[in-house]
Amino acid sequence: MNQSLSINDLHVSVDGTEIIKGLTLDIPKGEVHAIMGPNGSGKSTLAKVLAGNEEYEITGGSVLMDGQDLLGMEIDERSRAGLFLAFQYPHEIPGVSNANFLRAALQARLPKGEEIDAVAFYKQMYARMDELEMDRKFTGRSVNEGFSGGEKKRNEILQMMMLEPTYAILDETDSGLDIDALRIVSQGVNAMRSPERGFLVITHYQRLLDYIVPDKVHVMFDGRIIRSGDKELALELEEKGYDWVKEELAA
């Protein structure tokens, strides 16, 4: 079986307008791939489609996760099967505490009738929160409610650490972060890097890739990957700007 998150000729539309236009990408376990691209290139749409957002219509192509048909699965099934999306704009869930939310997510992964070990759960959660320099008070607060931008992003990484996915997609996790938060969040991600886990890091800026050093960099434009390379590509892109790729493409 192919141990990768494998996207093949994916076409996606919303309200009849095609946004992803035949995208092919293979993220093997153990690797970190970055997708860079200008606003409106379809990066975030790709992230949401992979997670199962039903606002989008898939008009062609396939996505296989370790050989399993990802697009045939419900949103929650995908998560339980090992996919994780760190949201660009994490939602606020009033009245649901962070701890209960995480607990419910972990509980959903257990066989029917089996109960989560509360003591072990809290121990693990506190350890992860310490790594992310999150105050303990966040366990009792409603999910993302009243959190600053940086706190929300840390909370996404906390969820990733607790759920231990096989493939993690980070959608513009760096946006809205100051340099300290960026460092902490990146440390969290780097600590999760393993031969058993693949990452897709979506970002607009090269800055994040100083902290999370990718194995491969892809440039996305107008719904397609137009160029792939190693981490040097990100630096080149930063230096020359997106127009450079666009011009090359046009030439």
Partner: protein, 449 residues
């Protein structure tokens, strides 16, 4: 008993013409001691008279706007049989109630079946109403049934006054703080049984007390009626919290009338939690009588099937520099129907008032109906007031977020709805109390289709 009283009591009452249906012909009574104070006998005789005189709710009465008047047609009701099997009631009350209480009382069909008062600090009077009437008649007299029902429920209040010998009297002396809550459970069973839970709670200056009342059914089939009244009076610097947790069976109806009278720098929290019943009517009045008075009014309600919850509130600012905040939340499913009508009234001269009112409805079905009528009447200056009502559905984005963490769709909806209700609960003092209420909601959501 004086002759005058005997005379009033012997009046052959005519059933009120406006009251549709077969109404009572005599005050519903059960066995009682012979030496009840004469002022009480007089008062309840007058109350019965007032009950007969007071017109039944009618459609054009603003206080009954949108109300389902069919639900106030009561067939002749009775105080219910003595409940013999009390052990299961006691066991169930303990299991589902709070572990850590200062006192616990259990009533079944208006009669006391359990009283535990070991956890009370010295000087506190916390007794079944019937005992307090005998032991502290003058103290009870000063406070008993002193507030008029202002929101349409006068007829029910009068009936309650004519009949109640059930419930508790609590008097907390100056500067005594009761840390743990007092829990009172009222059980009702037998078709047509009416119970009259009464709670009269006075906290003197600097004193503090929390009372949790639970209304339950003895079985799932009997149609009972609960006509309850809670009178809360935190005096200068005192604090009273009262919550009525209603979880009756889906054939039963409830009228619960809450009144608070908040003194100088005092604080009152008055809450309703509605989980069960076929129809309920809650009226809650809070009078802010002196500067520094602070009143919170809370409600969290889960209605499904064809349940109807009708709630009316009044935040009455009578003095300067007073504060009130109301948050009522309804989660509705199926054909459920709710009514919220709330008025903030700032009396002439009650300057520097801060008053807030919010009613929020979460609609879990297209057929559910939430009616909201917020209102403001301001006759003072330098006033900060806001009111608002919203109705909405769970957003797809919220569901997506929870599902993207592996939580199945139905559980996700449950969690979001419960979170919505928890917001109102979170303002109550007492972690065990909040947890217990959340637990009840969780159980209720778990069986929701």
């Amino acid at each position: 008993m004086s002759n005058a009283v005997a005379e009033i009591e012997s009046l052959q009452p005519e059933p009120s013409a406006e009251f549709q249906g077969d109404w009572f012909t005599a005050p519903p009574r059960h066995e009682e001691p012979e030496n009840l104070p004469s002022w009480y006998l007089e008062l309840r005789a007058q109350a019965w008279h007032q009950f007969l005189e007071t017109p039944a709710p009618f459609r054009t009465d603003e206080n009954w706007r949108f109300a389902n008047l069919k639900q106030v047609e009561f067939a002749s009701l009775k105080t219910g049989e003595i409940v013999d099997e009390i052990d299961p009631i006691i066991a169930e009350t303990r299991e589902r109630g709070l572990r850590d209480v200062a006192a616990r009382f259990i009533f079944a069909n208006n009669r006391l079946v359990l009283s535990e008062t070991d956890g009370l600090p010295e000087g506190v009077i916390c007794e079944p109403l019937i005992d307090a009437l005998l032991a502290h008649p003058e103290l009870v007299r000063t406070h008993f049934m002193q507030e008029p029902a202002r929101l349409g429920g006068a007829k029910f209040a009068a009936l309650h006054g004519s009949a109640t010998l059930s419930g508790i009297f609590v008097h907390v002396p100056k500067n005594v703080v009761i840390e743990k809550p007092i829990e009172v459970a009222h059980w009702a069973g037998g078709d047509g049984t009416t119970i009259f839970p009464h709670a009269l709670v006075i906290a003197e200056a600097g004193a503090s007390v929390s009372v949790v009342e639970r209304h339950r059914s003895l079985n799932e089939s009997d149609a009972t009626l609960t006509i309850g009244l809670a009178d809360l009076a935190p005096e200068d610097g005192g604090q009273v919290q009262y919550v009525c947790v209603q979880h009756l069976n889906d054939h039963s109806r409830q009228v619960q009338l809450n009144g608070t009278r908040v003194g100088r720098d005092a604080k009152a929290v008055s809450g309703f939690v509605n989980l069960g019943a076929k129809w309920i009517r809650n009226e809650s009045v809070s009078r802010l009588t002196a500067p520094g008075a602070d009143s919170r009014m809370l409600s969290a309600n889960l209605a499904d099937g064809d349940q109807e919850f009708d709630q009316r509130t009044l935040q009455l600012h009578e003095a300067q520099h007073t504060f009130s905040d109301l948050l009522y939340k309804n989660a509705l499913y199926d054909h459920a129907r709710t009514i919220f009508s709330g008025l903030i009234q700032v009396m002439p001269g009650a300057h520097y008032t801060d008053a807030y009112q919010k009613c929020r409805n979460l609609l879990g079905s297209d057929e559910a109906e939430a009616n909201s009528m917020p209102g403001l009447e301001i006759d003072a200056d330098q006033v900060k007031c806001s009111h608002g009502a919203t109705s909405g559905q769970i957003s797809d984005e919220e569901i997506f977020y929870l599902m993207a963490r592996g939580i199945p769709a139905q559980r996700a909806r449950q969690m979001i709805s419960q979170g919505f209700l928890n917001e109102a609960i979170s303002h109550l003092a007492g972690e065990e109390l909040r947890d217990a209420i959340e637990q009840r909601f969780e159980e209720r959501f778990a069986v929701l289709a």
